[in-house]
Every structure is written in C-alpha cells, then in structure tokens.
C-alpha cells in the first residue's frame, strides 16, 4: 500500500502537510515527532522585509474555532534563508515556502530569491491573508488581479507554484480557474474566513486588529464545500484544508477532491495531529483494500 502522492512535481510520501503559520518553521513540532512523517512542511508566511505583526491580543477562541490576527509576523526572507532553512535541510520532508506581500514586486522579488534554492521544493503564494491591511487580500478577491499576479510570478520561477486562495469570495471556482489559467501548478483551499469577536464588557472588538481569520473545525463544512466545487472545475491538484482534526476529516477532503490536505489549528490542540492523521488514513485504506490514494480522490463526486 502506498500513501505517496505528487503535487506539481513535489513527491510526498503521504498527503498530509502542515498549514502555513500553524507550524512555525518546523522546529517546535520536531520535539514531538520526526518531521519525516509529514507529507510536506509548509512554513509560516514569509515577506521580503521583516514584519512585526499585529497588536495583541491576536487569538480569540470561538465555538469550535479560533480567530487569529497574527498579521504575518515574520523575520523576513533573508533571515529565513540564513537561519531557518538550513535547519530544515535534513528534515526528510519537502519544504514549501509560503510567500506574501503587499505589492506584486514583493512577490516577484521573493520568488526570484527562492528560485535557485535547492532546499525549497515549492512556493505557496498566499494571496489571501485577511489580517494584513494593505494588499494581499485584494489579490485574493479579484480574479483579474489574482491571475496577473500568478502570471508574473510564474515568469520568474521554475519552482512548483501553489496558489492559496481566500474563501471570502462569492465565486471560489472563478478564482481557481483564473489562477490555474495563468500557471498555478496546484491550488490550496482555503485560508481563514474573516471574522470577529466583541468583548461586551469592554464594548470593543476582542482582537487588537479588530478582525481576524477564523480557522478550526467550525469552518470545515465551508472549506470542504469549496474543495468539492473547485476540484470539479480545475485540472491541477487541490490541497484541502480548513478544520481538519482527524483522519476522517482528511478523508472527507480527499473524497471531496483534494489530492493532499493541510493541517493547521489541529496542531495546537494535539501536537501529534499530523502523524496521527497519516496513520488513520493508512488504516482506512487497509480496511477498505485501497492500494493507493487515487481512487479516493474526488470519490464523492466521481460516484465511485
């Protein structure tokens, strides 16, 4: 039996990746298990310059979900290349860098800098962060803007290009088709849903940034629906995420059409989430006599 898959030329030994921003640069969770057990490691959203991030509080819990407004705090690409990536060289799992910016030029610069690096197996283009005032989100909600950004990035890198979409749109299929057309090798669905919480005693929003992105089990029905819709439209592989806590959840996404899945919030609740999900998928495949994952991908709409 083989859990291996390939996304845009990136070979993974199983379909379970970390979701960007929920796994740091891998160091913290490597204290719990060997990162070789992961399908791929997607690091924190990285920008050209260091970002200090948003005012605290940055986290607010909601029923079965969390709002976050970290605001892309990161040490900037130079530091990441110098200090974080070397440590990941021997990690034994493909490393994907999530890149973000305000302006097209920033994305292009990032892509150019990362293009020659052997230790980077792919780029995930974050055009969907709801926690950054300027830019980012505009690319994520406008088909034309998204398409032309992807086209530009495509022209400066030969690395596999995964485009991560925002769920805060009327027509997720349109967004997916737009970025596929301009050269996305894969599509990540989804980033967080824009939400908020209010502290009724202070009569103010709870988060320092006022609004934040909702993740966790609460959003699973919504992200699953988007994976279902998009994977029936596009030819490139879809990476599903949003509320995956268990192997059963991951299998729902795979049957909805995702070739791989990413796990974010679940890591905070159970640091062993990723290896346990891998194990659970393997068990399901064993029990149901699947030799490999492909017949499961999209099974819920292929009517297999």
């Amino acid at each position: 039996m083989d859990l291996g898959i390939e996304i845009a030329g990136i070979k993974m030994k199983n379909p379970v990746m970390s979701a960007s921003g929920c796994f740091g640069y891998g160091e913290e969770y490597s204290a719990f298990y060997n990162l070789e057990e992961m399908g791929a490691l997607v690091v924190k959203g990285t920008t050209l310059e260091p970002r200090e991030g948003n005012l605290p509080p940055r986290i607010a819990e909601t029923p079965a979900g969390i709002l976050n407004a970290v605001g892309l705090q990161n040490p900037g690409i130079d530091y990441v290349i110098k200090k974080e990536l070397p440590a990941l060289k021997g990690a034994g799992t493909p490393v994907i860098i999530n890149i973000a910016g305000n302006l097209e030029e920033e994305y292009l610069e990032l892509a150019k800098i990362l293009d020659p690096l052997e230790e980077v197996q792919g780029l995930e283009v974050n055009i969907s962060c709801p926690n950054v005032k300027q830019g980012g989100m505009a690319f994520g909600t406008d088909e034309k803007a998204a398409g032309s950004l992807v086209k530009a990035i495509r022209s400066v890198t030969s690395k596999p290009l995964i485009v991560k979409l925002s769920p805060n749109v009327t027509d997720i299929r349109g967004m997916a088709l737009a970025v596929e057309k301009e050269g996305a090798d894969a599509i990540s669905l989804v980033n967080t849903f824009l939400g908020m919480a209010i502290d009724i005693h202070r009569k103010k929003p709870v988060l320092g940034n006022l609004v934040g992105g909702l993740s966790g089990p609460a959003i699973k029905p919504l992200s699953l629906r988007m994976v279902w819709q998009v994977s029936q439209e596009v030819k490139v592989p879809v990476i599903g995420m949003g509320g995956i806590m268990t192997a059963e959840d991951a299998l729902e996404f795979i049957m909805a059409g995702a070739r791989a899945v990413a796990v974010g919030t679940a890591n905070f609740v159970n640091p062993y989430s990723i290896p346990e999900i891998v194990k659970g998928i393997r068990k399901f495949m064993e029990e149901h006599d699947y030799e490999d994952l492909s017949p499961l991908v999209g099974a819920a709409w292929k009517g297999v």
């Binding site: 969770y29 204290a31 806590m245």
Partner: protein, 269 residues
C-alpha cells in the same frame, strides 16, 4: 521538552468562591518543572468546544509523592468545565512549558508582588527561594478580601506578607503597588518577582526600575499552541538591540525580566 501525557487528578478542592486547586499525579512533570513554568491543559476529551488548551502556572510540587498542583479561578467555559472534574479522572497535559523564573545568583533581599491569582506561580517560586535560604517578603493585592490568594500558604511557610485590598476589606486600603512603593522606600531590596493583572505589573515594573531594582514578571496572553509555533501569544518586548519587538509569552516567557518587557502598547492601554 514539551511532552504530552495523561495525568490523574488526585485531589480537587474548592479553595474559595470560584477558586479551585487541582493536584495531579505525574512524576515526570513534578520532577522536571521549575517555578514560572506552566502546563497546557486539554479541557475536554470529546468534542471541539472549547477547542484550545488552557495554560496554568504550576502552583506547587510535591516531589516525594510525584504530584504537582495548579490553583485556578473559574472565569469562563474552560474553567467552568474543569471545576466539574472529579478526582480519579485523567486529563491530558502538555508541558512543562515556558521559560522559568531565574533565581538570583547571590543571596539578597527579595520582594514579591502578587495580584489575585498571580499568587499561583509565586507560591512555587517562594518555596524554591526558601529552600535556598533566600529572604523573601510578599505583597498580596486584590480588589476585595475574597479575591486575596495565598494567606494560608504563607502562614504555613512562615513567609512575611502584607495585604492590600482596593476596597479596604482586608489589610491596607489601596493597591498592592501603593504598598510596594512604600516598601521600596523603606527597605533595600535586591530582586523582585511579580505576577498579576497587566496594569499592576506595569506599575510594579516602573517602581522597581526607577530604583534600579532588577526582577522578573510573569505575563499572561491568550495562547493557541503553547509551544512557539503560532505567534499568537505575542507581547511587546525589547529585542537584542533594544528595539521593540514581539516576543512569545509561551516560549520566551511567561517570565520576562523587568528591563525586557515593554508595557507601552499592551492590551490595557
């Protein structure tokens, strides 16, 4: 490092209105934990509400019996559910986590300031200080008498303490920081530790720093991961070059030196 394990609740007592003490059996935790560290507790085994773990400081350790304790106040959903757990049940614990208090290298006079539940980590610290024969005094502050924590413990330990309540229902009428001001004027202290609400810590820090007294505070911030991976628990602090940056309460903290932490644009401002 941050390990995960189930630990049995050995004792669970009500210590006051909405205040509980929970003792766990876990030789692995109790033998390794250092004052200032915390555990990240999973509230429910089944279901996703509440979703996140909850952080609690270590309040006490009994190494002989392999126990450690937390002292907590019921403030919301998670602690309300905790309060119903029974001795004999298991809870999943991550930790010990975080950077502990550093103990002064030389002997000296130590003052501690606890605001309400801020007493929890200071209690474990005091016990360590006493073991090293350090001289320690503590100011306990709260809004009103029933929110004062720690008297019994301190009597038992034989540690000097003074009380302050904002409404004057016990001890000095006023804030713990008023008492601290007085104390700092009177005596010569070498080191300070404090834990409590943000506005109190801010005043404590400025009082201590203005007199050149070194020390540490234990901070709280809402946490998601508890291990440094999510950047959720950021708190403004001075970086290596003195620049203002966000540090992680779960990993760089919860203890910070008075010089390091910045209270200038914190959540209460």
């Amino acid at each position: 490092m941050a390990m995960l394990r189930k630990a049995q609740i050995i004792k669970h007592d009500r210590e006051g209105p909405g205040i509980y003490r929970m003792d766990f059996f876990s030789p692995e935790v109790s033998s390794r934990v250092i004052p200032g560290q915390f555990i990240h507790l999973k509230i429910r085994e089944e279901g996703y509400h509440p979703l996140l773990r909850r952080p609690f400081s270590i309040y006490d350790v009994d190494n002989e019996r392999g126990l450690f304790s937390i002292l907590y106040r019921v403030v919301g959903l998670g602690t309300r559910i905790m309060a119903k757990r029974q001795p004999g049940e298991l809870m999943e614990i991550m930790g010990p986590l975080g950077a502990p208090f550093t103990l002064p290298e030389e002997k000296g006079k130590i003052i501690l300031v606890a605001g309400g539940m801020g007493f929890a980590p200071l209690h474990f610290l005091i016990k360590k200080l006493l073991k090293r024969n350090m001289e320690a005094e503590i100011i306990l502050g709260a809004r009103k008498a029933e929110e004062l924590m720690g008297e019994n413990d301190l009597v038992q330990l034989g540690v000097n303490f003074i009380l302050a309540t904002e409404d004057g229902s016990r001890g000095f009428q006023g804030q713990a920081t008023d008492l601290l001001d007085k104390k700092l004027r009177e005596g010569n202290y070498d080191y300070l530790y404090s834990c409590g609400p943000y506005p109190m810590l801010k005043k404590v820090a400025s009082l201590a720093l203005s007199r050149g007294i070194k020390g540490e505070v234990s901070l709280e911030e809402i946490m998601a991961c508890g291990v440094g991976a999510c950047l959720g628990c950021a708190y403004p602090a001075k970086g290596d070059k003195g620049d203002l940056t966000y540090k992680k309460v779960c990993q760089h903290g919860p203890t910070f030196s008075l010089e390091e932490v910045s209270f200038h644009n914190g959540p209460g401002d």
